[in-house]
Symmetry: C2
Subunit: 286 residues, 2 copies
């Protein structure tokens, strides 16, 4: 009986949430790294983007997303959005009983391992950069001699969502955003937003092949694998079942997601996220 | 007693809502056209933008905004967002007891008056253009010989919100979006999003001085003045009291709004818009 229950526990999906589409790069990395694990993804497409919004609002939205995924019995929660990680990871870790994994610590850790000069650049939304979360995570590891150069890139998300992935305008925007980093001669640049790996080719051209780009999605998948192994919660056999929930219409998400993940995204449903706001507030108040 | 009540009725504010900052161009036009009228503005900054979201979600958000403003006793409702007008104006007009004025009909009417060739261009968000609302409003007035060329411009709102008002990248984006309209030789272009008047100079440079740009904010203010006069609801003396409500933090809105409206925006407060969702749903279900 015990082993049956344990097997059922292990079969529970990994919960992943993001403001919209960007977190699919993290979901895809998880599916590659942990091919037997099921993923339950929530994209808050009715309220996307988070990157330009205040910490309080991002925290409230993140609590609603967590509440939704926990109501569907996830065994671990991945905050697959840098802005939500910056503003809400700590609160969620304190409030929830399942393990919570954000994308900032794994990305920072990989960047510090990769740098030779100790000069690291970070690209992110205004919210992520303004929070100072990467700065803190990097400086703690780099020590006094390290240098962190953070650059907000608020137009990258709309450009990706517009589909201008390899477009002269996107190149011009990238040139403008990356100029300050080139002047200070960094050797590692963190893609501190889960949309940015979709611009990887263009960004690599801009910074040159000597600069290493760190995609925190891959590093986050490794961190999740370690936690599941440590807690004997990993599912190691059988085919996974992936489901995707969105707060706006499933149509655009299904179309973009299927393309961006080579078929990982198939089963997409709408969910009413407002209901989980209520539930959260009731729990918080009483 | 009757005249006292009527005076109090007339003193009620005009309600104005938008997904965020863009509707301030309409509020400013109202304040110029009707200097004694008070304005109560709601900007849904926690969920901005609307232009990329589905009709159902935009309608739900618009009902919440209307419910909020009616709870504060507005005498008329201006839908100061083209996307919300396209998806929700008709539903709001049927459901509400106060007059509802959107920005599309006034803009379309002014464009048809201005054109000499009957060839009209429309710029808007994906949601507004995809709805076909301008197309319908223009063709009804133009008759069979008219031609309407609609162009979605999804990057203009993020560029304005980034503050790149007069920037080489914005010029490059405008050149790309406007090329199809130049090829078909329109003589009037409707700025079919309330953010776009902030790019007016740059857009006028792009289309050339022979093409007339129509800003629906001005036309909407004229339509509101006419309705209030017809219903004897106009306030004609005394200083107005303007208030601004936002669903995210008031800070950024106050900063941008004060600059963009030359001091109209001063009193900005946060409001919890989710509560009005509930209320709406309860009303709809029972």
């Amino acid at each position: 009986m015990t082993s049956l229950l344990t097997a059922l526990e292990r079969d529970r999906p990994i919960g992943v949430f993001d403001s919209g589409l960007g977190g699919l790069t993290v979901a895809a990395a998880l599916a590659r790294r942990l091919p037997s694990e099921s993923i339950l993804y929530f994209g808050d497409t009715a309220r996307v983007p988070y990157g330009s919004k205040s910490p309080d609002v991002v925290r409230r939205f993140s609590r609603q997303a967590a509440r939704l995924l926990l109501s569907r019995d996830v065994k671990l929660l991945v905050v697959a959005c840098n802005t939500a990680t910056a503003h809400a990871e700590e609160a969620l870790r304190q409030e929830l009983e399942v393990p919570v994994v954000g994308v900032i610590e794994p990305g920072a850790s990989a960047a510090v391992e990769a740098t030779r000069t100790g000069r690291i650049g970070v690209l992110g939304t205004s919210g992520t950069i303004g929070s100072g979360a990467y700065d803190l995570a990097l400086r703690r590891r780099l020590g006094e001699d390290g240098r962190v150069y953070a650059q907000p890139c608020p137009l990258f998300v709309p450009l990706v969502e517009e589909g201008w992935i390899d477009h002269p305008v996107t190149r011009a925007v990238a040139a403008e955003y990356l100029r300050p980093l080139e002047e200070v001669d960094v050797d590692v640049v963190i893609l501190g937003c889960t949309h940015y790996p979709l611009l990887r080719g263009l960004l690599q051209d801009q910074v040159g092949s000597d600069v290493r780009l760190v995609d925190s999605g891959e590093e986050t998948a490794t961190a999740v694998a370690r936690i599941l192994a440590d807690r004997r919660m990993a599912r190691t056999d059988g085919p996974p079942v992936h489901s995707f929930l969105v707060s706006d219409s499933p149509l655009k998400f299904r179309e973009f997601g299927t393309r961006a993940t080579h078929g990982l995204v198939v089963d997409v449903s709408h969910v009413d996220i407002d209901g989980f706001g209520l539930h959260t507030e009731r729990l918080e108040n009483g």
